[in-house]
Subunit: 198 residues, 2 copies
């Protein structure tokens, strides 16, 4: 009895590990497409082609395009969080707080631009906007850096002011409606940080 | 023929002027109620009682409560705009730019708090959020002050950062979800302005 089960258990474990790797590979392919050609370029077909698998494999993992986009946002958000919480300098903990704060704005801008369609589609209602977990985590992080740099400031409020200045909906308005180059928004973050740090 | 019409025209003019006065009186009464007891206290009945007229008069002017609230927001917005564009100091043009900028945040906060329910109910969709006329006018005004005070700064972006720091949805989150006193948000505006002006 045990003998007949062991190979099956082994097979199942093998399949699961394979499924996890497969999923990660598909999400990496989708993230590459989003970064290079924008989220609009993400379809079940383009992700399958980019990952070198059949379209059926993508469908089995994510259901439809919306399922894929949601999974991609979670995945991308997690990598961004890892980068500023525990990644290498200038974002991560080995750099000094001023360097980390200066680097955070452009990193957030690029993360948001790479996932623009996802963020705009997932924009929460007004009463939830500041309570969603990624926003709270960013705020905690920026407030921690501000507290280290400006002990006499109201770090909580300054962190909100900083984050709001590169908020995805505002930046989209500036870029789309006013044709503002993203480099100018990045320079604006550095200017704001430098003026605050005096 | 002319003789029979003249009195009617006179009567009509008289009625119109009366209607305008009536409308203004009802809106002033509603604004007082909102400032003293919050927008939730505004009903057709309370406004009628505050203005010393019958409920039918309020219904004839505004239709229903929603019509009244929309008219009130327009009315209140216009008074706020007059205050910072052409009103007395510290908001208006007779004060120096630094004084006007310092005063603008608390004035905006109080204006938004007095109309909180209206603003939350009227919160535009993401793609329209920064394009609505009152927001644009505030931005033009703050950018003009920043330009006068910090000629080397990116006034357009700094104005967005400043305005976002006292944005109605953020402030509502801070006050409602975190129990932050409004006085602290006001102090945060002054702190932010003072740090930027150096």
């Amino acid at each position: 009895m045990d003998g007949t089960h062991l190979p099956l258990i082994g097979e199942e474990t093998h399949l699961r590990a394979d499924a996890v790797r497969n999923r990660a590979r598909l999400l990496e392919a989708a993230a590459r497409l989003a970064a290079e050609r924008g989220a609009a370029a993400i379809t079940m077909e383009t992700v399958a082609a980019e990952a070198g698998v059949g379209k059926g494999t993508v469908s089995r993992r994510f259901g439809d395009r919306n399922g894929l986009l949601q999974a991609l946002l979670d995945h991308s958000e997690q990598r961004f969080q890892e980068a500023f919480l525990s990644g290498p300098p200038p974002l991560g903990p080995e750099a000094d707080p001023a360097t980390r704060l200066r680097a955070f704005g452009p990193a957030l801008l690029h993360h948001e631009r790479a996932n623009l369609d996802l963020y705009l589609a997932a924009e929460p209602a007004a009463e939830r906007r500041f309570a969603v977990p990624p926003r709270r985590l960013r705020h905690t992080h920026v407030a921690m850096l501000v507290r280290a740099l400006l002990p006499d400031a109201d770090a909580e409020l300054l962190a909100h002011a900083l984050l709001s200045s590169v908020e995805v909906v505002l930046v989209d308005h500036l870029v789309r409606d006013h044709g503002m180059p993203l480099a100018r928004v990045e320079a604006g973050w550095h200017d704001l940080v430098d003026r605050l740090l005096g």
